[in-house]
Amino acid sequence: MTCIAAPMSYKGSNTTMVDISQEYSKIDTSYAITAKDSLGIRLYQAKGEGYKLNGDEFYYLRRLHRINAIESQANLWLFTSAGIVNVKKNNRNNNQAYVSPTVQADYETRRIYMMGSYQLFRVANDNFDTSKFKAGFSFYKTSYEETQPWFILELSHFNTINKKIEVIPTLRLINKALYFEAGVSTEGDPKLHLMYTF
């Protein structure tokens, strides 16, 4: 549930993110204490297959490795989340504490983007592991002052909440500190993602 495109910005920056969809919504804010580490808080809810999750968590994000080349950037990230989630299913309604790690790898050039992530998210006897893969291209190069449009194809699987792999064609727009994605899954679920750094 935590995987995103560029999970943190520069040292001393705040990053705020909002995700909205029928299946999963969240609001998240984090502070980059160094160029490699950030601390954040997140509120989220997810529903599907008779389950309803409501969670609050703290997370620590560590950029494990970055390869900066002249025309590209590659990263390996580790999120460690800890929180409490309320799980509702039929007559069951209970709060569970959890710790959940996510590994994310991404690669980006001025025209190409790829990202894969896996979140291990186990609560009591339930397995809510999430995996995502995103790949896409920019329609054209833009200058720093212009908005750059991208086409991204996302494949997403949220274990237990959704039996199928979701396929989500997405339009991404980047303008300096503002990062916006809008897509509709092939099942007709609209999804919005907004990120702002300040």
């Binding site: 160094t34 900066n68 950037q73 980006e108 190069k141 720093y144 750059q148 980047i174 750094t197």
Partner: protein
């Protein structure tokens, strides 16, 4: 002679000096990355203008100090933004000259 010196000092006091530095970067592949670099460079005392060129992977800064900003300081700021420096050089053109040159294309 004294008058000439006074005039010379007066002239020098009204003349503004600046230095322009061109920084080649590694990993600056999108505007979202570059805005952190721009903000941190703008925050350096004495820096008056910053120009980002994504297509050619460089940044140009203009500072009121004739010697420019120290290479070490620039490197540290770029690394704190999450990127690497390939090369730093002092150039004779101003930031506005560079901006006009590349924005025309």
């Amino acid at each position: 002679m004294k008058k000439i010196l006074y005039f010379l000092l007066l002239f020098l006091s009204f003349t503004s000096y600046s230095a322009t530095q061109r920084i080649e970067l590694m990993g600056m592949v999108c505007a979202f990355c570059a805005q952190g670099i721009e903000k941190n460079l703008q925050d350096i005392e004495g820096v008056s203008n910053v120009y980002i060129n994504l297509d050619n992977y460089f940044v140009v800064i203009e500072s009121k100090n004739t010697a420019g900003i120290s290479n070490e300081k620039i490197r540290n700021i770029i690394i704190d933004a999450g990127y690497d420096v390939n090369k730093i050089e002092i150039i004779s053109e101003s930031v506005e000259d560079i901006r006009k040159k590349y924005e025309k294309k």
